[in-house]
Amino acid sequence: MSRNRVPPGSDDEPNATPNKPSRRRFLQSAAAAATVGVAPHVHAQNQPAAVPPSEAPRAPEPPRPVTLNVNGRAYTLQLEPRVTLLDALREYAGLMGTKKGCDRGQCGACTVMVEGRRINSCLTLAVMHDGEAITTVEGLASNGVLSPIQRAFIEHDAFQCGYCTPGQLCSATAMLSEFGNGTASTVTADVRMHPAQLSDDEIRERMSGNICRCGAYANIVAAVRAVHDGSTGNA
């Protein structure tokens, strides 16, 4: 994993846990308070930072402030450019809901929504999303009330181990919105037409970016269908 490649003592060392606020996170919070006003100038500051390649091991690029608006709250984090959005959310913002599965874009466990679109947070750099709005699984519920897809996953037993579930939930949330917008999929009979109904084949194809190693697919499809058909809602 990429973690093994992190230089010892670098800021990428994982040490934050949900239950134990880390020293680093305390420092980040303090830094966040201090750097909010500086963020707009980050691009100008970056210009002279470029260095020519050399044979020597590369020194880590100095961290810079990156502001991510996650679930309605602004997090200004001190990040090296190489930090992925996934690692920023988990290791720097302390939001452990988003899961690291393969870390290579092959499993979907890290799925989050950026500006309303579902993406694999492992294959994008946090710095590329400076100022953007991100929704993670922690942001699906509102005021302590689970979202329809969250309730449907529980009602339809759509998980076993649960590791893929945060990604499945974010993916399903976006997928239902995409279908509502008339998007086609590779199982849509004629892409020139809007797919008339959300068949189980359509659900499976549209959820195919999320692998469930427990094989809870049948119940995941049922949960998505339930929300689409409106049979879950507030029931």
Binding site: N46, A50, N120, T124, T186, G209
Partner: protein, 333 residues
């Protein structure tokens, strides 16, 4: 991942200037580049983020009736654009056959053109032999695992295939790639954009250092009514093609006026089946003629130890895709 420096370019000229620095790469969606960087296959020193370049994320009609797709249009947006769906359904199908919804939301059209092979020996630096990753080191695939590899146009240096679905459809549609550099702009026909490995397998495309893809231009839509993209893969979704076929026809009744057929998963570049196209054009579409054309398309096939099945699979896929494009319910050979 190795340390990198980063800057966000705001316009094409500043991106091009930034790219003059050695060790610099452009980053768009990042879906392939960051994957390769995590594996140590690509090792840029500096990334220039081009996702905020103005004007390259739109799709618009051209004076000749064609369509210009900006290089930064995301694959999902291109697939679902009204004009692409209505006028170039073949391209929409190809986009939708690739990767996953999440990856299509990230990946750009320009980045899709620059996708590198998914050959396992290229991806895994634990293998010392890969001429594409380390020129002159040899090819571990020729005598190793080569089930997913090339049957056409390979060399003794490299048997890798291009993984893109989009590019196969673009090849069938005779698309043109627009590129910019500090020297100016130029256009590259899609069939000349990707190259065969020959003795330089480390070079995937004819793009020159310092050049930036700005758009893909499509000719006026001639095949809207008769096209089909068929992708055959090991699982129903979220997998690269073993074989894919982009078939685009102009029909006069049952007679094929023009046939464009491009193959994916079989070569280092999208492969136009020119002989098969000629055999089909100007004749009524019949099972016999179609089978003969499909066989001719594989006339020069040189399968490897693990992918002999691809020769017949490609023939059957051509038959099926052309039949689908023609609106025939006709049989699979």
């Amino acid at each position: 991942m190795d340390a990198i420096s980063y800057e966000r370019a705001v316009d094409v000229s500043s991106a091009l200037r930034a790219a003059q620095q050695p060790g610099t790469m452009f980053i768009g969606g990042g879906t392939n580049l960051l994957d390769l960087m995590k594996g140590g296959v690509e090792q840029p020193v500096h990334l220039v983020d081009i996702t905020h370049l103005r004007g390259l994320d739109t799709i618009g009609t051209l004076p000749d009736g064609g369509l210009r797709i900006g290089a930064l249009v995301r694959n999902s947006d291109a697939a679902n654009h009204a004009l692409v769906r209505e006028q170039y359904p073949l391209l929409s199908q190809a986009f939708l056959a690739g990767a996953s919804p999440q990856l299509r939301n990230m990946a750009t059209v320009g980045g899709n053109l620059m996708q590198r092979t998914r050959c396992g020996y290229f991806y895994d630096t634990a293998f010392s032999q890969c001429n594409k990753r380390q020129p002159g080191s040899g090819c571990a695939s020729i005598e190793g695992q080569n089930r997913t590899h090339a049957i056409l146009g390979a060399s003794s240096q490299c048997v890798a295939v291009n993984p893109s679905d989009m590019s196969v459809a673009l090849a069938a549609l005779d698309a043109v790639v627009r590129v910019s550099s500090l020297r100016g702009e130029r256009t590259i026909p899609i069939t000349e954009f990707h190259r065969l490995p020959a003795d330089r397998p480390e070079v995937d495309t004819t793009l020159q250092p310092g050049e930036l893809i700005t758009a893909v231009d499509l000719p006026p839509p001639l095949f809207s009514d008769h096209s089909h993209y068929l992708k055959v893969r090991d699982r129903a979704s979220y997998a690269f093609a073993l074989v894919s076929v982009a078939a685009a026809l102009q029909m006069d009744g049952n007679t094929v006026r023009t046939a464009h057929i491009a193959l994916g998963g079989v070569a280092h570049k999208p492969w136009r089946a020119s002989i098969a196209e000629q055999m089909l054009s100007g004749k009524p579409l019949s099972d016999a003629n179609l089978r003969a054309a499909a066989a001719a398309a594989m006339g020069e096939a040189q399968p490897l130890s693990g992918n002999r099945f691809k020769v017949q699979l490609a023939q059957r896929s051509i038959v099926r895709a052309v039949n689908q494009a023609a609106g025939r319910t006709g049989g699979v050979a």
